[in-house]
C-alpha cells in the first residue's frame, strides 16, 4: 500500500507542520516515508510545496511522478490547482477555499473556484474563517489536516490525532488541547 501526498500553500502557512505531524505518525506506525521540502528563497511569500510519500514498500524517488499523487492537501485554492497535473485520475483534493492574495495578478476568484469545483474529488472549506471564529488563528493548518485525515488511509485518523499530541507536547498542554480541537473540527467537516 502507498499514499503519495502533495502539500501545498504559501510560505508561512504552516504546510511543513502538517508534514511533520504526518511524518511523526508514519514513523510511529513503521511506515516508510520520504518527504521533500522547499527551503530558502522559495519560502518568502512564494508558493511552497512538499512531496510526502508513504508506503509499506521501499520508496525510491523523493519526488512524486506526474499523475501519481493520491491526495493534494492545500492551504490555498490556487496552490491546490497548481499541482493538479500531479494528481492521479481518482486522486482527491482537500483544500482551504480562502484565497491568499499577495500578488497583483491573482486570478478571478469565481473562475478559480469554478475550475476547482470542476475537478473530480474536491473537498473544500473556508478553514481560515473557522479558525478565526474558533479563536485559533494559528490552527488553520491543523484543521486542514483533520479534514484530510480520513483520506490519508494508510494512517488512521486516530494515529494522526496521537501524532498531533506528540508533536506539540513540548509546547505545553494548552497548545496540545488547542491543536486537538482544531484537528477534530477539521475531521468533523470532512
Amino acid at each position: 500500500m502507498k499514499k503519495d501526498i502533495i502539500l501545498a500553500g504559501v510560505g508561512g502557512q504552516g504546510i511543513l507542520s502538517i508534514a511533520t505531524i504526518i511524518g511523526e505518525a508514519a514513523t510511529k506506525a513503521d511506515i516508510q516515508l520520504k518527504q521533500a521540502e522547499v527551503h530558502g528563497m522559495s519560502q518568502r511569500g512564494g508558493d511552497v510545496q512538499s512531496n510526502l510519500r508513504l508506503s509499506t514498500e521501499e520508496i525510491y524517488s523523493d519526488l512524486i511522478p506526474k499523475g501519481k499523487a493520491d491526495l493534494i492537501i492545500a492551504m490555498e485554492p490556487m496552490e491546490a490547482l497548481r499541482y493538479v497535473p500531479y494528481l492521479a485520475p481518482n486522486g482527491v483534493i482537500v483544500t482551504s477555499s480562502h484565497p491568499f492574495v499577495n500578488i497583483p495578478n491573482y486570478p478571478d476568484e469565481q473562475k478559480l473556484m469554478d475550475e476547482l469545483d470542476g475537478m473530480k474529488n474536491v473537498v473544500r472549506l473556508d478553514i481560515e474563517t473557522i479558525a478565526k471564529e474558533e479563536k485559533m488563528p494559528k490552527g488553520a493548518n491543523v484543521i486542514l489536516l483533520g479534514m484530510a485525515a480520513s483520506y490519508i488511509e494508510i494512517l488512521s485518523a486516530d494515529e494522526l490525532r496521537e501524532a498531533v499530541k506528540r508533536v506539540f507536547a513540548s509546547k505545553g498542554e494548552a497548545v496540545v488541547e488547542s491543536n486537538l480541537k482544531a484537528f477534530d473540527l477539521g475531521l468533523a467537516n470532512k
Binding site: 504559501v10 510560505g11 511524518g23 511523526e24 514513523t27 516508510q32 516515508l33 520520504k34 518527504q35 521533500a36 521540502e37 522547499v38 527551503h39 530558502g40 528563497m41 522559495s42 519560502q43 518568502r44 511569500g45 512564494g46 508558493d47 520508496i59 525510491y60 524517488s61 523523493d62 519526488l63 512524486i64 511522478p65 506526474k66 490556487m78 496552490e79 490547482l81 497548481r82 493538479v84 497535473p85 499577495n102 500578488i103 497583483p104 495578478n105 491573482y106 486570478p107 478571478d108 473562475k111 478559480l112 475550475e115
Partner: protein
C-alpha cells in the same frame, strides 16, 4: 539500532558527529545550511565542545578546517556549490598538501537553481583536485558515507568531496543511526609537505598523481556501488539520486550500474558496456560521467544522456524526465500543456512586508530616478528580490561581493552614479577587499550596506560583521565624513533620500549603512523572550 527521521543534510551532520568530528566550518548557503545548524543545536556536539560557529566565507572555512586536519582532528567544511568557487584556491591545494586528520568537503549542488545563480556540478572540482568523491543516493547512505569518507581521507591522506543535491539535502527519511565513536587524538603533523614551495610542491603533486590508482581501486570496490548487470539492450549508469528515479520507473529488461563514488569506476562501466547494446547515463547536474564514458568506450559505442538530449540538458532530474529518457520518448510536454490548470499564475517570493530592505529600495528608486544614467549593482541575499516588481531597482547580481567591484569598474568606465547595494553578511563575506580597491583608487561610487544584523536569506544565521561595519569601513580608509548610518523606516524617507543624494554627489567612495534588524529574526527573538518569561 535507533531510527531517526532526518533531512539529507541532518543525516550528514549526525553521521559526522558519530564519526568523531571535532569541528564544522561553513558559511550559510541553500541547500547546505541545515548541516551546520544541526551540529550547532546538537546536545552531543555541545557535550563534546565541537567547533561549529559560522565562518566569514567558504575560503576561511576551508582553510580553518585544513588547519584542524593538520592538528590530527576530523573536520567538515560545508557549502553550497558556488561556495566551491570561493574556496577553490584552498580546496585544490589541500589535495597537494594532503591531510592529517580526516577532512570532508561537503558541496550541496542546486540543479534547477531553486535558490542559486547557476547549476555548476561540484564533481568537476573533485576531479580537478584529483580527490575521491562520494555521492549518496539517499539519506541512509548520506549518514553512512560520512564515516567511510573520513576513513578513506585518513588512509589516502587526501581530502574527500561529498556531493549532494537539493532534493537529497532537503528531503526527509528514516535513517538507522549508530553509536558515536570517539574523536581523534590531538596530533599535529610534523611533515614538511605542508610547505608548498615549488620544490616540495612538485614532490607532493607527483605523490598525488601516484595515489590515483588507489582512488580508482577504492571506487571500483565501493560498497555503495550496485551492479545489476545481465545481457540487456539498455545499460543504465545511475549516479547519486539518479538511481532513485531509474528504480522508480520500475523497468524490466535493463541493466543498472549504480555509481556512488568517483573517480568513475572504469572496469564496472566496461562490464556494463560489454553486456549492453547502448548506455544511458542518468546523473543530476552536468554531464560529468557521460563525457567520461564517451572517452572510455570506443567512439562508435552509443552513449546517451544529458549531452545528447535524451535527458534534459538543464534543470534537475525527476521521475518523469528519467522515465521518459529510459523509454527514449519525449517527456510528454504537449500532453502536460493540455492537462494544465488554467486559473493559476506564478507566485514569486518577495521581500517581507515591513522589511528594511523595502525602505532602502523605495528611497533608492526615488533618488535614482533623478539621475539619468544611474546604475545600481546588486548582490546576493534577500535584497536581490529588489530586482522584481514593484522595485525593479537593481541592474546586476552576479556573485558574492560583486556589487562593490562592479560598481567600481563601471565608474572607472564613466558610469555615474554607480551605486552598489550589498547586505551585511555578503559585505564581510567578499565585499571588504573590493572596498579597499575602491578606496585606493578613490573610485566615484556610493555603497549601500543594507544591514539587517543577520544572514537573512538562509534563515537568520549570525552575520560575521555585526556591530563592526563603521570600524571596518573607516579601517579600510573610507573618509569618516562619508560613512553614514540611517534607519530604514518609512518615516525617515526624507533623511534617507537626502543622504543618498549628498553621497552620490560626493566625488569619491561613500558608504551608507541603513541599519534595522530583519523582521523575521526580530519576531523570533520576541517569541523566545515571551517563552522564557513564561517559564
Amino acid at each position: 539500532m535507533e531510527k531517526r527521521l532526518l533531512l539529507g543534510d541532518e543525516a550528514i551532520a549526525l553521521g559526522a558527529l558519530h564519526a568523531g568530528l571535532s569541528g564544522v566550518y561553513a558559511y550559510p548557503g541553500t541547500p547546505s545550511t541545515e548541516i551546520t545548524e544541526f551540529i550547532q543545536n546538537s546536545p552531543l556536539a555541545k557535550e563534546r565542545g565541537i567547533r561549529s560557529r559560522w565562518c566569514t566565507n567558504e575560503k576561511t572555512a576551508m582553510e580553518a578546517a585544513l588547519g584542524m586536519s593538520y592538528a590530527g582532528k576530523r573536520a567538515l567544511v560545508c557549502m553550497k556549490h558556488v561556495g566551491m568557487n570561493v574556496c577553490a584556491d584552498a580546496f585544490v591545494n589541500s589535495a597537494v598538501t594532503g591531510v592529517n586528520g580526516g577532512l570532508i568537503v561537503l558541496a550541496a549542488d542546486d540543479p534547477s537553481m531553486h535558490s542559486s545563480q547557476n547549476e555548476q556540478d561540484s564533481r568537476f572540482y573533485g576531479k580537478f583536485a584529483m580527490i575521491p568523491i562520494f555521492e549518496p543516493s539517499n539519506q541512509q547512505e548520506a549518514y553512512d558515507m560520512v564515516a567511510d569518507a573520513f576513513q578513506l581521507s585518513e588512509s589516502l591522506k587526501l581530502p574527500v568531496l561529498l556531493r549532494v543535491v537539493t532534493r537529497l539535502a532537503h528531503s526527509r527519511a528514516a535513517v538507522k543511526v549508530g553509536e558515536p565513536s570517539s574523536q581523534n587524538a590531538f596530533n599535529p603533523d610534523e611533515g614538511k609537505h605542508w610547505v608548498l614551495l615549488p620544490a616540495i610542491a612538485r614532490r607532493q603533486y607527483a605523490s598525488l598523481i601516484s595515489k590515483q590508482p588507489d582512488l580508482l581501486q577504492a571506487a571500483e570496490s565501493s560498497k555503495y556501488m550496485r551492479k545489476n548487470i545481465s545481457r540487456n539492450r539498455l545499460g543504465v549508469i545511475a549516479c547519486g539520486i539518479g538511481y532513485n528515479y531509474v528504480m522508480e520507473a520500475g523497468m524490466k529488461d535493463i541493466s543498472v550500474l549504480k555509481v556512488s563514488q568517483y573517480p568513475l569506476p572504469v572496469d564496472a562501466v566496461k562490464q556494463l558496456a560489454s553486456e549492453s547494446d547502448e548506455i544511458l547515463v542518468v546523473e543530476d547536474g552536468q554531464p560529468f560521467v557521460e563525457e567520461q564514458v564517451k572517452g572510455i568506450l570506443s567512439a562508435d559505442y552509443p552513449v546517451s544522456g544529458r549531452l545528447t538530449g535524451r535527458l534534459p540538458r538543464t534543470g534537475e532530474l525527476n521521475p518523469d524526465n528519467v522515465a521518459a529518457g529510459l523509454c527514449g520518448k519525449p517527456d510528454g510536454a504537449e500532453e502536460e500543456l493540455a492537462n494544465s490548470p488554467i486559473n493559476v499564475v506564478g507566485r514569486p517570493p518577495a521581500l517581507c512586508q515591513g522589511c528594511g530592505h523595502r525602505d532602502v529600495y523605495a528611497a533608492l528608486k526615488q533618488v535614482v530616478g533623478e539621475y539619468e544614467g544611474a546604475r545600481v549593482f546588486g548582490d546576493i541575499g534577500c535584497y536581490t528580490l529588489g530586482a522584481l516588481p514593484p522595485f525593479q531597482a537593481i541592474n546586476s547580481c552576479v556573485d558574492m561581493g560583486a556589487s562593490i567591484t562592479m560598481a567600481k569598474g563601471a565608474a572607472d568606465a564613466g558610469v555615474f552614479p554607480a551605486i552598489a547595494v550589498i547586505g551585511d553578511s555578503t559585505f564581510t563575506h567578499s565585499g571588504m577587499t573590493g572596498l579597499l580597491d575602491a578606496v585606493n583608487d578613490n573610485a566615484n561610487i556610493t555603497i549601500i550596506i543594507s544591514d539587517n544584523l543577520t544572514t537573512a536569506m538562509t534563515g537568520g544565521q549570525d552575520s560575521a560583521g555585526t556591530n563592526k561595519f563603521e570600524q571596518i569601513c573607516l579601517g579600510l580608509g573610507v573618509d569618516p565624513e562619508h560613512v553614514k548610518v540611517v534607519v530604514p523606516l518609512p518615516k525617515n524617507m526624507e533623511e534617507i533620500t537626502q543622504t543618498l543624494r549628498d553621497e552620490i554627489n560626493y566625488k569619491g567612495v561613500s558608504v551608507i549603512i541603513p541599519r534595522r534588524e530583519c523582521i523575521q529574526t526580530h519576531a523570533r527573538k520576541l517569541r523566545q523572550q515571551k517563552k522564557e518569561a513564561q517559564k
